[in-house]
């Protein structure tokens, strides 16, 4: 390929990667707090709520994210002639972000639950003896310890999320894999080249490298109890 062609390719990949990043950050911003709510619902002493959450966890974690994307984007239109998303790129992004937030929130909730469970029951008992309410114990005693405990498994999920965003191409969201793949078929006078698709790996590696550094640093900063 000529230098001009490479500049076309990298422009397309940059635009695609911006969409990937947008989906990544929106998913994290939505799924981190939503996961907390789901975890609280799961641990609720009100049994039906806990059962409902367990059922939903089974469905969301047990079914492919690709199918969840398809159902969320095409389902309302096909089943009820209702078109909440619209056909444009913005609508596809909203649908993809919604599916990713819900899916990741259920995974996060289970990680949070593991983090809470790792805190010795003695701390809760001590808090109760001191006259703290359960809400106070949760926010003032357990939450920060939980954050420390869950950081390594959360880092795992976050890095997986970067790559999972590529699933959204199933509803034609133009993220970086879509941007690279179109040159395989032929676009902008460049045809049948697999190199642009292979170049997307570089973007993923660099971004995940930065994330790993950031997350490791965060882990170190939070290890002040030791």
């Amino acid at each position: 390929m000529t230098p001009e062609q490479w500049s076309i390719v990298f422009n397309a990949l940059n635009v695609g990667f911006l969409q990937t990043l947008r989906l990544f950050f929106v998913t994290l911003i939505g799924a981190i707090p939503l996961g907390l709510l789901i975890m609280l619902a799961r641990r609720s002493s009100f049994r039906p709520l806990s059962w409902l959450t367990q059922g939903l966890t089974w469905i969301i974690r047990g079914s492919p994210l690709m199918i969840q994307l398809l159902i969320l984007y095409y389902g309302p239109g096909l089943a009820f002639d209702w078109h909440p998303w619209g056909g444009g790129e913005a609508g596809r992004f909203s649908a993809a972000a919604t599916a990713f937030i819900i899916n990741y929130a259920f995974y996060f909730a289970e990680i949070y639950r593991g983090g809470i469970a790792s805190i010795p029951a003695g701390q809760e008992e001590a808090g109760l003896v001191l006259g703290m309410t359960r809400t106070q114990i949760f926010f003032k005693v357990k939450l920060l310890q939980m954050v420390k405990a869950i950081l390594p498994p959360m880092s795992n999920e976050v890095i997986t999320l970067v790559k999972d965003t590529s699933l959204s191409r199933i509803i034609a969201l133009q993220e970086i894999i879509w941007a690279g793949q179109k040159f395989l078929k032929g676009s902008s006078g460049i045809s049948a080249s697999i190199l642009p698709l292979l170049c997307t790996v570089v973007y993923y590696l660099i971004f995940n490298g930065l994330l790993t550094i950031l997350l490791t640093r965060l882990e170190k900063q939070l290890s002040y109890f030791r």
Binding site: L70, Y73, Y74, G77, L78, D81, H83, W85, G86, G87, G88, E89, G91, R169, I170, I171, A172, Q174, K182, L184, K185, G186, S187, S188, G189, S191, A192, S193, I194
Partner: protein, 269 residues
């Protein structure tokens, strides 16, 4: 004997009644002003066209979609007083996109297959296409007939018109996920030949492409391109009428000339 005559009489009567009912209902729908789908699109004011990046039919030029199909779609929308919006779709999901109303038509060098015509309301064919055999240049001379090609191991896009042809001719073939993958198989030597669209072959193999040492030989069939609208939509009829006007005033020929597809375009009368 008498019975038979009676039966024939009865059939005649039933035919008459049915015709009358049909005629009345036709008048009925006519009286009920515009078709629901036409009304839906007119209310939006935008005709949303589902495409893929597919030169010379729909492709990007300085951020704008152009091509034979894109330019015709713009002209058609303008004739109805509509704006036009092009949306890139995943070709596998084209029927889903149409039913989901995230697009209003599929207009992207689409082969009119029985599956498509059964599931949508299609326009009349506007261009010819064929499925051709792609082989390395140095052996092309040996495979100028379907009989000679029968000994080859083919790669075809799964579910494509190319696969239908491979099946029809009884070729031995491997289904792959895209037409371009089929071509890559030939280049890599994992398959002897591929079957793909003639229009695509012209763009993808030969001099000045990524596969200068490949070429295409015979066409296995002939097929036609059309535009698909939602099942029952009268937009298909409106487009047929537009094609005729555009052919008569020469717009269609001029656009075809611009994109070098004149030989493929079908006259609209």
């Amino acid at each position: 004997m008498l019975r038979k005559v009676e039966m024939i009489m009865m059939k005649k009567w039933m035919c008459l009644i049915l015709t009358a009912v049909l005629a009345l209902s036709a008048v009925g729908t006519f009286a009920a002003e515009v078709d629901a789908d036409v009304a839906y699109v007119q209310e939006k004011g935008v005709l949303v066209v589902g495409i893929t990046d597919f030169a010379p039919m729909d492709y990007l030029d300085n951020g704008e979609w152009i091509g034979f199909d894109a330019d015709m779609a713009k002209a058609f929308a303008a004739s109805l007083g509509l704006k036009v919006e092009f949306i890139e779709i995943d070709w596998d999901n084209k029927l889903l996109e149409l039913d989901n109303k995230s697009i209003d038509c599929i207009w992207n060098g689409m082969t009119l297959t029985e599956e498509i015509m059964g599931a949508t309301s299609c326009s009349k064919p506007y261009a010819n296409n064929a499925q051709v055999i792609v082989v390395p240049k140095d052996v092309a001379d040996q495979y100028q007939t379907a009989e000679a090609a029968a000994e080859l191991q083919f790669a075809v896009e799964a579910g494509s018109a190319g696969q239908s042809q491979a099946e029809a001719y009884g070729f031995s073939f491997t289904p792959v996920s895209a037409q371009t993958d089929a071509v890559m198989e030939v280049k890599a030597g994992s398959s002897d030949a591929a079957i793909i669209d003639a229009l695509m072959a012209a763009a993808v193999v030969g001099e000045g492409t990524s596969y200068p040492d490949l070429t295409y030989t015979i066409g296995l069939n002939s097929e036609e391109y059309g535009v698909a609208f939602r099942q029952g939509s009268e937009l298909a009829e409106l487009l047929n009428a537009f094609f005729v006007t555009a052919w008569q005033d020469g717009t269609m020929q001029a656009i075809a000339e611009t994109y070098g597809v004149s030989a493929a375009v079908i006259a609209q009368e």
